[in-house]
């Protein structure tokens, strides 16, 4: 799994593919206060991106990948 769901934290690792999007949305809807940890993430598929952009969850850790970090800056509140 490219996303590991903990109690109130979703940990993204490496490449998060398109198939994760639906689960991610459901999890974020169920856990409105859930945070996401992107530190080990290298890329997320656009479908996940739009889920994140729509919900704007709190980001616990930003990606180490600087380029991705810049792109995901839209998630900053």
């Amino acid at each position: 799994m490219a996303i590991e769901y903990k109690k109130s934290l979703a940990v993204f690792t490496e490449f998060v593919g398109v198939e994760e999007a639906e689960n991610l949305l459901q999890w974020l809807l169920k856990n409105p206060k859930g945070k996401i940890n992107l530190a080990a993430c290298e890329h997320i598929h656009a479908a996940n991106l739009q889920v994140l952009m729509a919900i704007k969850p709190q980001v616990a850790a930003w990606p180490a990948d600087e380029d991705l970090h810049r792109w995901l800056a839209v998630l900053e509140k």
Binding site: V18, A21, E22, L24, L25, L29, H43, I44, H45, A46, A47, L49, Q50, V51, M53, A54, I55, D67, L68, R70, W71, V74
Partner: protein, 941 residues
Amino acid sequence: MNALLEQFLSESRDFLQGIGEKLMQLESDPESIPLMTELFRFVHTLKGNSGLFDFPEMTRVLHASEDLMDAVRHGRVSYSQDLTDQLLDAMDFVGILMDEIETTGRIGNSHAANSVELTKSLRELLAAASTESEAHAPTPQGISDIDHPSVDQVLEEFAAVEIDYVDDTVASFGEPAFELDEAVAMALYRHAIGGDRVFWVEYIPEPECFFKGEDPFYLSRQVPAVLWHHSVLQKNIPTLSEMDVYSSQLIFQLLTIATQDELDDIFRYVPDQIQRIEIPALAFVAFSGSEHDDTVDDEFITRTLGFIHDGNLERASHSIRTMLELSAPELWSSSLLRWAQLIIELEPDNALIQCALINQLRTHEPLDLMSLVDQNSSKSIAVDDSHLPEVSLPHEHDEPDALNSDASHTDAALMASFYVVLNAQKNVLSVPASPWLAGRMKSVATTLIATYRATHQEEAIEDIEQALQEALAGNTSQPLLVWIDKALDNAPAISDIQDAAPIEVPVEQSPPEVPVATEEVTQDPSSKFGRRVEDTSPHFGRRAEDTNTMVSKTLKVDQEKIDRLMNLIGEMVVAKNALPYLANRAETVFGVRDLSREIKAQYAVINRVAEEMQDTIMQVRMMPVSFIFQRFPRMVRDISRKLGKEVELVLEGESTEADKNIIEALSDPLIHIVRNSLDHGLESPDVRVAAGKNATGKLLIRATQESDRVLIEIIDDGRGINPNVIKQKAYEKGLIDESALERLSDEEAVNLVFAAGFSTAEVISDLSGRGVGMDVVRSAVERINGTVGIESEVGKGTRLYLSLPLSMAVTNVMIIESNEQIFGVPMDMVVETVRVPRAQLSSIKQKQTTVLRGRIVPLLSLNELLALPQEQVPNEDDEFATLVVRVHGEHVGIVVDDFRETVDIILKPMSGILGGLGGFSGAALLGDGSVLMVLNPRELI
């Protein structure tokens, strides 16, 4: 190139050919369901195959064609010539792409735009037709069995969905809009000034892109040299729980200094989903910061403007630096000053912008510099002119005489400037909405107020303020525009002003409708992406007559291998021919008669095998003439449509075969001939009807085999050729002299069209009439040992015939002897060999003749023809060996010394200095190693 790709290319060419043929057939039989089904299948397979490779441009066009064909197949779109044209164009485009793949291994980025455009026009055809059919005859979908929708229905719905999305995506690109950090903006500005092209890229992935395995985010991240990027959602999702995560709502926006090529390459799969606009440098100039308690010393402004005005940029820059040190960096004015400093550094010549910038410190209004760019380029005066009574702007400085020398001129000039200001402000407002709108409107209002104050029309100021309030409240520039229009209406005619004021105020260059800079920029990509409404549908000028590649593709063996085999067999034939010499030597030189007989027996076996081999390889090289004929339907259709003629083309004997080289060499002459027949031969429908003929002309192309030759006839029932006109023309062009004018028979006259430099066409068209066609035809046909002739009857039509050898690899020649030398004569020219007794020779007008089988045959001595001084030698019975040859349809006797055997030789054309030697068609190596010169009686006589 890998084997799969090679196979794809070779197969696809067959498909393209097939598609072309089917389209032609469909044109004469538009209702035929099997034809359409087959056509659809072709396109469908081709599309499917192309999808195996990385050729999105090709697949896109084929996909659209497939959809269109599918609609035609199901009767949703009716078949039309337009449709055929479009599909043929699309197939030509695919053909071009294949050529490119074949030569370079990939498709250049330049084709993406054409591909999009073609696809769009194909889809338009589909969309137009389907809306039409929906409007006129609603499809009875509801009646059919809904529980079990047929495959057709599903396909239909699928096609409909696709049309929708095309319409959707195209419409939704917006204006470039970005808010940048000052540092980023300055970096972009530096790049733009430094010569880099800064592109604004907006990428709106189609909603269903996720299902196509695309990752738009990944694609966006691939763009190199991105200086700014932003991603947004298209619209707010109403309720998150209903959000469809697999329908893309994303928009990606980038500012990049990547090259156009790089961008095209990255987005080559989705060229219709991106918008690419080049952004000019000044668009990045924007200031941010707190305006609270932010006032700049008026004296500083005046002083700095003065420096700029005097061209003393160093002092201006210094003074700005000092000011910056004194003020807090987060202030709005500091941001402005930093920009001013940068612009002074990078654009030292642009005093207008510099002044405008500094002047803003006083007005405190965010000024849209883009409007200044426009004004700067059209050299009209600065917006805030009237704010600087004490500092004259460059423009005024340039024209001091006009302002001061003549009082009346000054007034007029002032008024002219006044209206120019109004116009300029109007332009500023006509720029489509942008994030600067509010600031822009304030700036305009301020300028207007100042302008009116300067021209002592204070009473208008209140109105302006009111208009501004309205505009700001409604967030639309309309009230201000209305006000300016009203003010402009009161203006005297602009030409009057100009007459009165010899000042350079090109008012007419900046009328309201002239697009300002930003608009021009936005138009740029539309032309690149072919979204302009103009009728610039692409035409891929590749017609059937231009394609030579198809011929080689049907031989699935590499042609070089066949040629090599051919050469080897040729050498084998020569080597085999050496055996009789050997047998001869064994008998005469070595006196071993038995050995000689055995060699001869062995020779007979080898000879048989060699001949069989030769025949077989000939068979392999044989191709049906249909390879050239198949392109005629398309060509005739294209040309006749262009000429407005109606032509029925009949092809006969397509399975007649000839050597590949002959067939290939034949294609150009035949195209010339057919073109000529269409252009000159066949009349337009009304002329035909007036002449009592069927409106549709008939063009017959027939191939038949006559012993060892192929006869090709091109027969039309057009106006025919008038021999008198031809004679006259030939005489005028100096091709024949006056005596020939009288002497020439009608048939001879008609054949003058083959003379070099002959043309009867009054007007040179792109089809024919350059006076080279028929001459070229003749020489091309003669090069492959063929003959060409023409028969014509005025008003009835013309028959043109080409006679060609089946093969030209191995030539059968007869060896003759004359003046103790041997020569070869091609057997296909030899009619018979006779020995004519001296008594039967008779002279007619000092020309030797004889009577053979009741015909008078002129006799020519070979020695004489070759300019050898000897007389021909008769045999013991005083008979002359006479070779009767057929030249230009007539029999001529050539008197030689003796006949020898006939041999098969590989005729090598002579090259170098000998190449220009007339009278010889080439040389060949004989079995004993000697060289045989082969005569060309046609040129000799």
